[in-house]
Symmetry: C2
Subunit: 210 residues, 2 copies
Amino acid sequence: MKIQLENITPSEIENRSMEIISQELVQLGITLNKEHAPVIKRAIHASADFEYAQNLYFSENVITQALSLLKNGACIVTDTKMAFSGINKKALYNYNCKIYNFIDDKDVALAAKQNNTTRSAACIDKAADIKEPVIFVTGNAPTALIRIYELYKEGIINPGLVIGVPVGFVNVVQAKELIIQTDIPCIISRGRKGGSNIAAAICNALLYML
Amino acid sequence: MKIQLENITPSEIENRSMEIISQELVQLGITLNKEHAPVIKRAIHASADFEYAQNLYFSENVITQALSLLKNGACIVTDTKMAFSGINKKALYNYNCKIYNFIDDKDVALAAKQNNTTRSAACIDKAADIKEPVIFVTGNAPTALIRIYELYKEGIINPGLVIGVPVGFVNVVQAKELIIQTDIPCIISRGRKGGSNIAAAICNALLYML
């Protein structure tokens, strides 16, 4: 079989990909909400999975809130090193935002062991001490989302935004619905799907909208 | 709506997830090749996408070859920092394997600019100097796979294994088929799907099989 490569320069690849995604959405009969479209398209771009055109939940006015947070130097807390790695630091630091991942911290490992919880959940407790407005970016651990819910309900944290897209089979669907039921501004991939790649893609989409 | 969380300890979550995946594969009428099953299940675990039960291509005898490479201290080269972050370093270093990601290297940026190619492709050229057997792990850049193909055809590199699971819309399908057509041992996600999360998941599945 002769394989035919498309002749394209590196700088054109992303635009061409986005064009293809837009065309195929039309073919699928899907019209995206204009405000949400850049986020949805970047999630599809990161996964080649058009289910993200249907499963992303956006709380009311969340894009405006997210952009305002990022413009004013919010602090991003991620649950995995993969999501941390995937977020565009240059774009982030342009706006004086900070980004933390506490998963390898010794106090986090200790707290997780003591409380028989995951290190991802213990990271949320640690993040409660952050003074700046916090954007939680969760691509892996539903236990992190559950802890965000608990600490919010107890009045201990008040997240500026939750990007809640853990992937998986145990308590993932439920953890996402818990967040949706609160008043926390959020972008959530309903159902089982998500992942660190999707978490980073959503975060970057917001940064590129600025 | 009352949300009911499953009561489960952190250490049980992964086993429970794998159980659910196995059960649902049965319900879908899918029987996995026994040797490939751990890799396929971990790709599904990383994405909640059962398409990975169908789209993963394994060259003949590749699992045995991969495990032998890892046991003997191979050198992994990844195309993204996300895949690099997601691969279990502890497991890797237990077998004296090395792992590199050249994407931020200055000589790579320069070479990419000079040759009007992507930095990911330029990373492959840089990897040609590695003396140990190399496992290429590509979760993002089809241009990296194309460069692997070219350098292999020119006799400049002879990869021990290619885990080729870039995601996307431009030259992704073709780049994967190029590798499949060679004699390089490979694990490839046919079609558009893949990603750094899938790349890391496959790599980790192999490490956990040792």
